[in-house]
């Protein structure tokens, strides 16, 4: 029953939100990591450092780009400002942000599964 609901693009989120995923997904690699980093409240520079660490150096976000990403994500209601101290704004994911992130990860998992099975098939062909 619930599987049928997921095929619809307008899914009722867990927090009772109507989310049109097409508006937000797919997330860019940088946006994805910014949202991951905001699983708890963090200020800008801490987000930059955390993204570089957890992406194992693959994603480096400059302060100008991060500032723009914060503005966009806040406008979209995916993150929210939780405090401001010494001109440092601290942000965290909203309930809507968590649902969008979860949907993105669900789709990524399907991509990885498909990619892995295609690679396995190609390897078997090479061996034959």
């Amino acid at each position: 029953m619930s599987n049928l609901d997921i095929s619809n693009n307008d899914v009722k989120g867990g927090a009772g939100l109507d989310i049109n995923y097409a508006k937000y997904l797919p997330l860019s690699e940088a946006t994805f990591y910014v949202m991951l980093a905001l699983d708890g409240p963090l200020h800008g520079y801490a987000v930059m450092q955390k993204v570089e660490t957890i992406s194992e150096g693959n994603v480096v976000i400059g302060p100008g780009t991060l500032y723009g990403a914060f503005t966009t994500l806040e406008k979209q209601g995916l993150i929210e400002k939780v405090s401001e101290e010494d001109r440092r704004k601290t942000y965290a994911l909203t309930a809507k942000g968590r649902i969008v992130l979860a949907e993105h990860v669900r789709r990524l998992a399907i991509m990885v599964r498909n990619g892995q099975s295609a690679l396995n098939y190609l390897q078997k062909e090479d061996a034959a």
């Binding site: 860019s28 940088a30 400059g62 302060p63 100008g64 780009t65 010494d86 001109r87």
Partner: protein, 183 residues
């Protein structure tokens, strides 16, 4: 503190050229202090340093939280001139730090400038229309032929400069997007 002032002209799309030139100056011990609209650059003499410079254009983003984020990330506000902001950061070995790291934000400064130029031009359309008419309709009716030619040719020159600015900016935006593999 001794200073040096030098004239050097750059087109507004030549941010990389400016950044490279400022870095070379810093390596020679000349550190950017200020720049004005006449392309006069003032440098402070100090010991040579390998500093990376980055240019941003944003008339509105003078807000303190953005500056705080820049300072946290190790950048120092070096100078500003008519919406252009010059940031400096000591170059760590082998690294070239960036303020903007995706094509959308990298082209943002040029798109903002283009919008500003377009708005400026649109605001002058009534004046251009009036000039295109015969001088009898101008508010100063007794205008000599020489004066009319001078006025009209300087307006035409201004228009040409505007168009060159716009064309260069559009080309620069396309180049940045292509470098990021976008159409």
């Amino acid at each position: 503190v001794s200073t040096t002032t030098t004239f050097k002209f750059f087109w507004p799309d030549q941010d990389a050229e400016q950044e490279q030139w400022l870095r070379e100056q810093a390596r020679r011990g000349l550190h950017l202090k200020s720049v004005n609209i006449l392309s006069l650059w003032t440098f402070v003499h100090d010991s040579p340093a390998d500093d990376v410079y980055r240019v941003d254009f944003n008339a509105q983003r003078n807000n303190s939280d953005f500056h705080q984020l820049m300072r946290d990330a190790g950048w120092t506000y070096a100078a500003s001139c008519t919406g252009w902001q010059y940031w400096r950061k000591a170059a760590a070995k082998g690294e070239s730090p960036e303020i903007f790291t995706d094509s959308e934000s990298k082209t943002g400064k040029f798109r903002r400038l283009l919008l500003l130029l377009g708005g400026g031009l649109a605001a002058q359309i009534p004046m251009l229309v009036r000039l295109a008419r015969s001088p009898e309709e101008l508010s100063t009716p007794h205008i000599s032929l020489v004066e009319e030619v001078v006025i009209k040719s300087s307006v035409a020159l201004l228009l040409v400069v505007y168009l060159i600015f716009a064309a260069r900016l559009i080309h620069r935006i396309r180049r940045t997007r292509n470098a990021h593999g976008e159409s």
